[in-house]
């Protein structure tokens, strides 16, 4: 787009002609035409004025009019002349032409503006694109360089790799070579060794011959006397039988060893089979039962049922004794199957757990929380109820404590009456018992008094008898029998009396009295010169003393004796 300068008229005319020719010659786009045409700068008013005055002066008016007419006609406007002939101007057509020219000018200006705007836009786009292009070019350069670098590295590494491979091959070849060398040397050495050994053997043979030939005069072995064999047996000749026996023994030894080992192995096998059976049972118990989840475990259920049949079969057979291939295989196969099932089960559980952890967790949380809340509400309700109950009970208690007088009195009266009646009953019982006791006491005291009287009588008798005895003893010799007979007599007397005293007494009382009876003889053997009262005291004392070691079955007697003493 070239710049259009303001030029003088003659030049302009020629230029405009050129332009017209240019426009007529080159069929360019209307826009470019417009732009070209647009680039005709709008001269300033001054310039316009000078321009106009420059174009049309008074001298060349007709020339300029004709020129303008020609221009207009070429442009397609009607001629400004009135008619073809004459030089009179058609004012209307001139004004029309002018108007049209103005309109055209306006249009052209607008178009120019638009074109300029577009031009600017395009310019900026172009700049932008140029920038992008520059950047991309840079990037392209960089990547190209990188590629080149990487390719270099790759080449280097490949060459290194090749070198290493080569080295490895070389080393392997060397190793192979060395091994070959070693083996060849080894064979050579073996051969040499064998040769030398043969020589050596020859020498040894020679030496042996020499040694054997040389007969030593002295005996090779001298022993003072023969020593018996360790096991005491005699030496045996070497015969075929002994050889056979040797073989036999050797085989026996081997066989016993093999038998022992076989026994051990059998034991081991049995134990291992037991362990496997146990494991099978454990695995079966670990696996989930079929009934609960039939959907999931339908397959497993079928397998399980099959297995259970197998298990039943196997258990029927006597495992310990059979050790044939089929049984062993069955056992191992069944265990393997179950182990696989257990593995699957565990995997499923793991999946469930992981699923539960990842996706379904929230719902579960919510559910659990709801449950938790429900439970807490329930518990709170319960607590409330309990509290209310406690309150009511407290109120009741309070009422009880602080209720109306009448009711309290009544209540108290009731309680009191009850208690009174109870107490009265007890008192009655107590009094009855007291009476009984007093009766018994009286009877016992009477019995004791009687006892005392009888004792006194007995003592008097005894005293008299002793005196008699003493007198008689001085005259006659001592008769020990006499000592016993009176005691026996006394004893029987006592027995009778005591039986009379205690009518319906128990046996132990009798026994006690019997033990009591034993004391009197000792008492009797006490110093003879004793007065009756003293003896009676001794007796009472002894009786008391004898009562003490006896059982406490006789508190009454105790009481009785005390009473008796008190009364005395």
């Amino acid at each position: 787009m070239g710049d259009w300068k303001t030029i003088t008229v003659p030049v302009l005319s020629s230029d405009s002609k050129n332009i017209l020719q240019y426009t007529s010659e080159r069929k360019i786009s209307p826009t470019s035409m417009n732009s070209q045409v647009l680039h005709l700068p709008l001269p300033s008013s001054k310039n316009m004025h000078s321009f106009f005055s420059a174009f049309c002066t008074e001298e060349n008016i007709e020339q300029s009019i004709s020129y303008i007419d020609r221009e207009l006609t070429t442009l397609g406007f009607p001629s400004i002349y009135a008619e073809s002939k004459g030089k009179e101007l058609n004012l209307v057509s001139i004004i029309n032409c002018m108007n049209e020219l103005l309109v055209l000018q306006h249009k052209n200006l607008r178009v120019q503006e638009e074109v300029e705007m577009q031009h600017l836009k395009l310019g900026s786009d172009m700049d932008h694109l140029q920038n992008c292009y520059a950047k991309l070019k840079e990037q392209l350069e960089l990547s190209k360089r990188e590629i080149v670098g990487l390719q270099e590295r790759d080449r280097q590494l490949q060459s290194k790799n090749r070198n290493l491979h080569q080295l490895l091959k070389n080393e392997k070849d060397e190793v192979q070579k060395l091994q070959n060398i070693i083996s060849s040397r080894a064979t050579q050495y073996n051969h040499d060794m064998k040769r030398k050994e043969r020589e050596y053997n020859k020498l040894k043979e020679r030496l042996h011959q020499l040694v054997m030939n040389k007969k030593d005069k002295k005996l090779a072995m001298e022993v003072l006397n023969y020593v018996g064999r360790a096991d005491g047996k005699r030496g045996a000749w070497r015969t075929d039988k002994t050889e056979a026996r040797n073989e036999e023994e050797m085989y026996k030894v081997l066989l016993s060893d093999y038998e022992q080992r076989q026994k051990q192995l059998l034991l081991e096998n049995a134990e291992l089979k037991k362990v496997l059976q146990q494991m099978k049972k454990d695995i079966i118990s670990l696996l989930p039962p079929q009934k609960q989840k039939p959907k999931e475990r339908s397959e497993d259920g079928l397998v399980l049922s099959d297995l259970e049949e197998d298990i039943g079969e196997l258990n029927k057979e006597n495992m310990w004794e059979l050790s044939c291939e089929t049984v062993r295989e069955q056992l191992t196969n069944s265990i393997r199957k179950q182990w696989r099932m257990l593995k699957n089960h565990v995997e499923k559980l793991d999946n469930q757990v992981s699923r539960g952890h990842s996706g379904v967790l929230n719902e579960k949380d919510v559910i659990s929380r709801e449950d938790h809340e429900l439970e807490t509400e329930k518990l709170e309700l319960e607590i409330q109820q309990c509290k209310e109950m406690i309150k009511t009970q407290q109120q009741l208690l309070q009422q009880q404590l602080t209720c109306d007088d009448d009711t309290t009195l009544l209540l108290q009266d009731c309680y009191l009456l009850e208690e009174r009646e109870r107490l009265q009953e007890e008192w009655r019982l107590f009094r009855e018992q007291k009476k009984n006791f007093e009766k018994e006491r009286k009877s016992f005291t009477e019995a004791a008094i009687r006892l005392g009287l009888e004792r006194k009588a007995f003592e008097e008798d005894r005293g008299a008898w002793l005196k008699h005895q003493f007198l008689s003893m001085t005259a006659d010799c001592k008769h020990s029998e006499n000592v016993t007979s009176p005691s026996a007599f006394l004893r029987s007397k006592y027995l009778v009396q005591i039986m009379f005293l205690h009518g319906s007494d128990q046996d132990n009382r009798l026994a006690k009295s019997a033990s009591w009876q034993r004391k009197p003889p000792s008492v009797l053997s006490a110093p003879v010169s004793a007065e009756p009262c003293q003896t009676s005291q001794c007796i009472t004392q002894n009786s008391v003393a004898s009562e003490k070691p006896a059982a406490d079955n006789m508190p009454n007697l105790w009481v009785e004796s005390d009473d008796k003493e008190e009364t005395e």
Binding site: K204, H208, V211, M221, V223, L224, E243, M250, R261
Partner: protein, 425 residues
């Protein structure tokens, strides 16, 4: 019994009282008791004479003269009435009978480390032979020395044979140039052969477990391979690395502790006991924290029979432990638990281990390292026992009593007996 120059001294085992004193013709090189402990044989290799003495009758004497055949080795037969003499250059083995004064010859015996092996019950003897550059094994019945079986072995150069304690399997192994273990049954059939690898140096030592269940094979690659008696295949291998990293092994390290001397008790002139205690260093065991790195000795590469690999193997009597020594790590004894097939204890000593032996009755191990201390290990713990006495008593080897109550400690010139108290239960 001990020998001194040309005298044989017999002492009582519990009191070390001299019971008998015998004089032989020459310097004694080797003595051995007969199996019933009634006779002692004294072998004098230089003169080629074996003299036998009786304990019951001190006047009884017996002299076996090999003459110009020479004598290289001599041993009793298990019945205690025959003596097997190996002549020089392993020309033959002569079996002398004390009962009948008869002689038998075994030809072409093999000149190897363990060429003659008796079964534990003393019924059979296996002799390694070599004829025409091929190895053979002959099995004889010890009763009447009759040949039972004679078969060839698939070895390059048979190095040793050993019976299993149950007397039914014979293990034969090849030289260290070839790793090969062959297992033969009593009747000469080849049960199995085991080969771990081909080219490097092979087997260094072999030991049977007391129950005949396991055969431990120690090799020059510092590993022990255990074969089981059912399939005769390797069930495990034990490695002996220089660093122990497993947390389950206990490492006992012998540590010297400086002797504490109380200055108040010093007297002048110093008593002998005090002087010896001052100069002899005490040591005790300490438990080292895992990981532990042991002293590793790299052997000289161009010498034969290098000090590499597992050189000593011993099973405990109750079949629970295996003690091994890796010659690369000469100061350590490795104790493996056979029930768990794992390394359980490592004993690290200050000096090179000379010899170790298990107690025949309990799982107790006695170790000696050439110092004047004997080291005892049992699953309950380990203890260092100082040999009391003046001067240095450098223990070179030791031997347990069959009841497990005492140990004989041998040094170059002296020996002493260590008595172990039994705990009152």
């Amino acid at each position: 019994a001990s020998c001194l120059q040309h005298r044989l001294v017999v002492r009582d085992a519990s009191s070390l009282q001299i019971l008998q004193l015998y004089t032989c013709l020459d310097q004694i090189q080797y003595i051995e008791w007969s199996s019933d402990s009634l006779f002692v044989l004294c072998a004098m290799y230089k003169r080629g004479i074996v003299q036998v003495w009786s304990l019951e009758q001190p006047d009884w004497h017996c002299k076996i003269d090999e003459g110009s055949a020479g004598l290289v080795a001599s041993c009793w037969s298990p019945d205690g009435r025959h003596i097997l003499n190996t002549t020089e250059f392993h020309l033959r083995i002569t079996v002398w009978s004390l009962c009948t004064k008869s002689v038998s010859y075994i030809k072409y015996p093999k000149a190897c480390q363990q060429g003659v092996a008796f079964t534990k019950d003393g019924r059979y003897v296996a002799v390694a032979e070599r004829r025409d550059c091929k190895d053979f094994i002959s099995i004889f019945v010890c009763n009447n020395w009759q040949l039972l079986r004679h078969f060839d072995t698939d070895t390059q150069d048979l190095f040793g044979i050993e019976w299993a304690p149950n007397g039914c399997v014979l293990a034969a192994w090849d030289t260290c140039l070839e790793y090969k273990v062959l297992l033969y049954s009593l009747d000469g059939r080849l049960l199995s052969s085991y080969r771990a690898y081909e080219w490097p140096l092979g087997i260094k030592s072999i030991a049977w477990s007391p129950s005949s269940q396991f055969l431990a094979v120690g090799s020059f690659d510092e590993k022990v391979r255990i074969l089981n008696h059912v399939t005769w295949k390797k069930i495990t291998e034990f490695d002996h690395p220089a660093t122990i990293a497993s947390k389950k092994t206990i490492v006992y390290k012998e540590v010297e502790k400086s002797p504490t001397v109380e200055t108040e008790r010093l007297s002048f002139p110093p008593t002998r006991a005090l002087a010896s205690s001052l100069f002899s260093t005490q040591s005790k065991y300490e438990i080292s924290q895992v990981p532990v790195s042991l002293q590793y000795v790299k052997p000289v590469a161009d010498r034969a029979n290098p000090k590499v690999g597992v050189g000593m193997l011993a099973f405990s009597a109750d079949n629970c432990f295996l003690a091994t020594k890796n010659d690369n790590i000469p100061n350590a004894v490795w104790i493996w638990d056979i029930r768990k097939l794992k390394l359980s204890v490592v004993l690290e000593q200050l000096c090179t281990i000379q010899c170790f032996q298990w107690d025949p009755s309990q799982p107790r191990l006695a170790v000696c390292t050439g110092s004047s201390r004997v080291y005892l290990w049992s699953p309950a713990g380990c203890v260092v026992v100082q040999v009391p006495g003046e001067g240095d008593f450098q223990i070179v080897s030791l031997s347990w009593h069959s009841t497990g109550d005492s140990i004989v400690l041998l040094s170059k010139e002296n020996f002493c007996v260590c008595y172990l108290e039994r705990e009152e239960v």
